[in-house]
């Protein structure tokens, strides 16, 4: 059994896919590419495929990771990349594939998000400042097990803002190694509320994700650019 770490981008209409829909699309991409996935054991075997950090519905992403356990019959990483690239649907762009000697599932450490918002850039800049300096921003989540208050500042940092025509470009980093992490839309909603503007979630983009050391691979990844 071999482990593939597949990098991909999610853009266009595909950004409206849910986590499970994205997972199913990646799984079907493997099947269309003729790459056989290992199956779990038990009554209802499932392909050993995971997306370690779910993407919010509506968010585009530049550098996502899929972890796949493939059978020994799977092609080389280079050929696998070619096959997956050709088989992927519109909006899911396979960008790199590397084979990993590790079995542990990569744990996400932090992710950087970017968002374009419409409105007064100065008001957004002031809201960002307030987000970082005023009382810790908290959100209340309601679920079937009750309510939970999350301190956004505990997991959110490096918030920045620059003016763009008609609005502002926001960036921030969410850490996933500090307990309950903020959801990116919560961060945007808090800032938008402070700035008095509409939170435009469909322009949310996850720029990069950093994983724990265990996920790092010893050898260089196979890049799409290497074949073109």
């Amino acid at each position: 059994m071999r482990t593939w770490l597949v990098s991909f981008a999610r853009r266009g209409p595909a950004r409206y896919l849910s986590h499970l829909d994205t997972l199913r699309a990646v799984q079907r991409t493997f099947a269309r590419a003729g790459v056989e996935l290992e199956l779990s054991e038990g009554m209802r075997p499932k392909p050993r495929l995971s997306l370690p950090l779910p993407l919010p519905v509506g968010a585009a992403a530049d550098d996502e990771l899929a972890v796949a356990r493939v059978t020994d019959a799977a092609p080389s990483a280079r050929d696998g990349l070619l096959a997956l690239t050709a088989a992927a649907p519109e909006g899911l762009e396979v960008t790199a594939l590397r084979e990993s000697p590790l079995r542990a599932r990569p744990q996400p450490l932090r992710a950087r998000y970017a968002c374009e918002v419409r409105g007064d850039a100065d008001a957004v800049a002031a809201a960002v400042e307030a987000f970082e300096e005023d009382e810790p921003p908290r959100v209340v989540r309601r679920g079937p097990k009750g309510t939970k208050t999350v301190d956004l500042r505990r997991s959110v940092g490096a918030v920045s803002c620059r003016a763009t025509p008609g609005g502002a470009h926001l960036e921030f980093v969410v850490r996933y190694d500090v307990g309950t992490a903020a959801r990116p839309q919560e961060v945007i909603e808090v800032i938008a509320d402070k700035a008095g503007i509409e939170p435009v979630l469909h322009r949310l983009r996850r720029v990069e994700v950093a994983f724990a050391e265990a996920a790092r691979v010893q050898h260089a990844p196979t890049q799409r650019s290497a074949r073109t």
Binding site: G12, P13, A14, Y16, L17, S18, L20, D21, R24, A25, Q27, R28, T29, F30, A31, R32, G34, L39, P45, A87, P89, E90, G91
Partner: protein, 566 residues
């Protein structure tokens, strides 16, 4: 939505055809008919086929509030700018969604209001068996199976003016123009090359969860079992079977093109497909883990059919006795006796299947309350078998819908049972059904609307439009069904829901007076329908013509004939 695997884009190509299924994306993307047309137009004609589905009410509200017009998923261009807008019309409860889509696209609702810049709006599919309820909203209808005429339709769209395109379309066999003078009814078209044409091999694969999410291979078209209530059994005659080699090759290519691991072998009665055992065995052998499913099983052959399924894919099975007593089933020409039913139920539970669903109808012609109570007795028998054989590990459910007489069937002029009778019989069923059997009764008010529109005549369009203007849409969705809108529209038209709509209704006792026969010739003779109706009252069984006895229904001849595997 959109961005599916196997999506085709042909930017800038004319004619641009938009194909629509008037329901939500998750329902419409699962329609095999639309997949056939999408592949046919894009891959085998010079035209471009794009798609649009009916936005759900919350999305529609937003589109109206922001002035966004309905667009196609392939090009994101307005649907209104296409050359031909083709609707697959699956059933009567999709009528208001057609109006909703026309309105959202900014296309005038009524054909008479359309001008040079508007697309030709064409309807097809099984609901055009009686096109009157929608006739005012369509420029043209295609009656029957369009595959053999699509090239001619595309060519007709090359005419430089709208009037020219409509005139050219009128010359295509199977096209009925409701707003032009045409001599006599239009003959239903039969795709005579069905058995020599491969099924869809590169279907669209939705990225979001759909109602049916698997490879669909149509193994056979038509069914001549002769159930007297069944419109599809008339509408898709005669039986034509695809060769097993073609079916298996198509399944292999479709699996590779989609990434699916399940193949559904579909037809009106897949167990009757001559090559079913071989096809199931060979498709399962294509690669490990491939599952094969059949949409329905015939009770009289269920025990044999079920044996072909592997233990790992034994889930739930549906059997359709249709009626609770032998006498009523004989009236329907449903040749199933108590012993066959018991054998089938035993085969389900001893075969390790974990669920059994029994499907019945109430409100059938000649039905009594005793027939309805007998449904509960059959459920009790099945429940006993479940207890004896599956020892409580199997689920048993009973689904009961209300029968609506349909045009071009032997029962086309039978009265609809009506609201009061159906309500009483539903209550009878609830009372008589064993407690541990899950009973699911079809939404009664939807059946009333279905009955009103299924045999509608000229003028029924006014009821449809009035109901839509009062807020009716997604009428087949219980959560969206607007009862007040339909009752209000019916009252304004002087009708009680359930009575046929249109001028001159009801249509009396002679089939030839019914308005659908003025528009559509379904190829079965009036004499055959009358004889079948008479035989129902005896009741006398009518053989399946696959068994070698021609029942003289009138469909075959002039190049149309049954094609079954040797």
């Amino acid at each position: 939505m959109g961005g599916e695997f196997n999506l085709r884009r042909k930017p800038g190509v004319r004619p641009r055809i938009v194909l629509s299924y008037p329901d939500a994306y998750e329902v419409g993307i699962s329609n095999p008919g639309l997949q056939i047309l999408y592949e046919l137009v894009n891959d085998r004609t010079p035209a471009a086929a794009e798609r649009a589905y009916c936005p759900l009410p919350d999305m529609a509200d937003l589109m109206r509030a922001r002035g966004v017009r309905l667009w196609s998923l392939e090009s994101a261009e307005p649907v209104a700018a296409c050359d031909l807008w083709g609707f697959t019309l699956p059933h009567e409860l999709a009528c208001t969604n057609v109006l909703e889509m026309l309105d959202l696209a900014g296309v005038p609702l009524r054909a008479a209001q359309r001008g040079e810049g508007d697309p030709v709006v064409m309807g097809g599919g099984p609901a055009v068996a009686d096109p009157w309820p929608l006739a005012a909203f369509f420029d043209a209808f295609f009656i029957g199976e369009v595959e053999g005429r699509m090239a001619a339709i595309v060519e007709a769209l090359g005419a430089p003016t709208r009037a020219g395109r409509l005139a050219a379309l009128a010359a295509v066999p199977g096209v009925w123009l409701p707003h032009a003078a045409q001599a006599g009814p239009v003959e239903r078209q039969v795709f005579t090359d069905f058995a020599r044409t491969p099924p869809v091999e590169r279907p669209l694969v939705p990225l979001v969860e759909a109602v049916h999410d698997r490879v669909v291979i149509e193994v056979m078209r038509g069914c001549t079992a002769g159930c007297r209530f069944c419109q599809a059994g008339i509408w898709y005659r005669p039986v034509r079977e695809r060769p097993v080699d073609m079916v298996v090759a198509a399944a292999e290519r479709a699996l590779a093109a989609t990434g699916y691991d399940e193949v559904s072998l579909v037809s009106l009665s897949s167990c009757d497909y001559s090559g079913i055992d071989e096809a199931v065995r060979r498709i399962r052998a294509l690669r490990p883990g491939i599952r094969v499913s059949l949409p329905s099983l015939r009770i009289d052959s269920a025990a044999t059919s079920l044996a072909g399924f592997a233990a790992e894919q034994r889930g739930s099975v549906t059997l359709a006795p249709e009626a609770g007593t032998q006498a009523l089933r004989e009236r329907l020409n449903k040749r199933v006796d108590e012993a066959q039913f018991d054998d089938a139920v035993r085969a389900v539970f001893s075969g390790g299947f974990t669920g059994l669903k029994l499907y019945f109808m109430i409100g059938l012609p000649g039905e009594s309350d005793d027939d309805v109570v007998a449904i509960a007795a059959m459920a009790a028998t099945a429940a006993r078998r479940a207890k004896e054989i599956a020892r409580g590990r199997a689920r048993l459910s009973v689904s009961v819908s209300s029968y609506v007489p349909k045009p071009h069937t032997p029962f086309e002029l039978e009265p609809f049972a009506g609201e009061a009778t159906l309500r009483r019989r539903q209550a009878l069923l609830r009372e008589a059904m064993p407690r541990h059997v899950r009973l699911s009764l079809h939404h009664l008010e939807s059946s009333l609307v279905e009955a009103t529109l299924a045999r509608g005549g000229p003028g029924a369009d006014r009821l449809v439009e009035d109901a839509w203007r009062r807020g009716a849409r997604f009428d087949s969705w219980t959560e969206h069904f607007a009862e007040a809108a339909w009752r209000g529209a019916a009252a304004a038209a002087g009708l009680a829901l359930g009575e046929p709509a249109g001028e001159g209704a009801p249509w009396g006792e002679t089939g030839s007076a019914a308005p659908w026969h003025a528009a559509v010739d379904a190829r079965v003779t009036p004499a055959f329908l009358e004889e079948e109706r008479r035989r129902a009252t005896e009741p006398a069984a009518t053989a399946d013509c696959r068994d070698g006895v021609c029942v003289s229904c009138g469909v075959c001849g002039a190049g149309v004939e049954m094609e079954v595997l040797a």
